[in-house]
Symmetry: C2
Subunit: 304 residues, 2 copies
């Protein structure tokens, strides 16, 4: 089965209490694609970059099974750029710069061969772009999306129209509360389900993630307690990438398979934050990943 | 095996967005004792009240297997009183009144029969009182304690002397960070272990609890997502009560048994917050408890 990913491929400049990384690879599409590639090597990436994106970065992605026919390279323009500084607790950050650059004109036209993709993940872009991608896909088995508070503020109607078309939404707790206008995450999930998606995944950062399915179905994936978190950038996208990578590979959309997918997402996110940018994400060994997954099992395993 | 509990039996006046409860039963000893009684009916309570504590409350405790020979009743004085108001998110609160009353003179002398108690839980009292109780016990198999930021600020040396004598500390994340001067909870736990306790339990409120044992041993108990949290008062003590109740009943101090104990604590805490004061805690049916424990199993169970 193939996984279609729509997201940014960009440059980040990141400051955390552990140091600074300047003009490093970032963007939701990069994190999602790389993360998913540990489970699925049939990935179609839809994105846009300027002519400043190093060919080496793109070649590395292709070597991971990430098809780039859907990546538009705009000559004479720059890639999307974000700069941010994290506070001491790593839970909050200030955005210092957001240069849309090529992203301002992003209006993805899917390559013909992408239209048969069965699993779709729409990174955090305008609801209009997300909706347009859904409409171009012909045979989707499972469509999931991310979004953010900003779109709830400025594009509520478009967001509602997009959410209506999807199977699963993956957002953080703050976003779930704003979207649902409910404080309890249980109530928030139930309310969001009435907007369209059968499945709601609520990410709580260092506190793990919750999956809500039909009826009383509920699952909790912990975050792995870590001694060092160097850079939380992209952890949420990495989580979504691991989730979608596993799900599309096992090709079984059930609550059971989604539970395992959530753990895969948590495991990938636990690697992501260990180093700046995608430094760790690019060089995880299979054995290391297997061990981390087993650690998650041990972390929550108990006898009654 | 018997469980010795030291803690307050008191009155609370509580305001939450769901209402107000005036002069209701509260106190760490009440929550710990009631919670533990669902697992263990051989509980020795060491506490102090004024002559204003209704006999009915005390009789109800005795009917749950909570021995009150160690409960001092001071004629002509009032019981400890606390009043607080929770903010809308229920995660923070303002203390409106703290009247120590009888607690100001609390200097517990253990009844002779209590001295053979094998499992000891020291609720949040002065480190000096906690230490004195440990010294009076003769045959402790497992000693655990709670504490708070206040004692770290005003009685650091006494606190260190007490912590050195115990097997397990049960505190919240903020307290663990202040005690260890480490931000990462993993680092915090390792540091606290060097102060004495082999086991460190870090409560994260609505985000669950972590248990750290020897070496790499680590376990995470989730909190049950709930639609309604009416009153969080006593949830931490209730958690500790369920933990100690289970552990003392199964009488096996291993990492395995402590994992189950942590889940028992989480289950009890999930009931506690459903109603004001001990209203729910006093009337949980065994079948209801079994179902809740199973729900915890389902919440984190996944296949790799």
């Amino acid at each position: 089965m193939s996984l279609l990913v729509v997201g940014t491929v960009a440059f980040d400049t990141i400051e955390t209490p552990f140091g600074k990384a300047e003009m490093v690879l970032g963007g939701s599409g990069s994190y999602i694609g790389w993360s998913a590639s540990y489970f699925q090597r049939n990935i179609n990436l839809v994105s846009i970059v300027g002519d400043d994106m190093p060919a080496e970065e793109l070649e590395q992605m292709q070597a991971r099974g990430i098809d780039l026919e859907g990546l538009e390279i705009v000559e004479g323009k720059k890639s999307f750029f974000w700069a941010g500084r994290y506070h001491n607790n790593m839970n909050s950050r200030d955005t210092l710069v957001t240069d849309l650059n090529v992203l301002a004109d992003f209006d993805p036209i899917l390559p013909e061969k992408y239209k048969a993709s069965e699993y779709i993940f729409l990174g955090n872009l305008t609801p209009a772009i997300q909706s347009s991608v859904i409409d171009q896909v012909e045979a989707a088995k499972f469509v999931a999306m991310d979004t953010m508070n900003f779109w709830m503020d400025v594009a509520w109607d478009e967001l509602m129209a997009t959410i209506k078309k999807i199977d699963c939404i993956i957002i953080n707790d703050e976003e779930a509360r704003q979207l649902s206008k409910e404080y309890s995450l249980l109530d928030a999930a139930k309310k969001i389900q009435t907007m369209g998606p059968k499945y709601v995944v609520i990410k709580k950062g260092e506190h793990g993630a919750l999956l809500f399915g039909e009826g009383e179905n509920m699952f909790y994936a912990p975050a792995m307690p870590l001694a060092t978190v160097k850079d939380p950038t992209g952890a949420g996208d990495t989580f979504a990438g691991g989730f979608m990578g596993y799900l599309s590979k096992c090709d079984e959309v059930t609550f059971e398979s989604m539970k395992t997918a959530l753990i895969c997402g948590s495991a990938m996110a636990s690697f992501c934050v260990e180093e700046f940018s995608l430094d760790k994400l690019k060089e995880i060994h299979q054995e290391e990943l297997n061990l981390r997954l087993q650690s998650f099992k041990q972390l929550v395993d108990f006898k009654l």
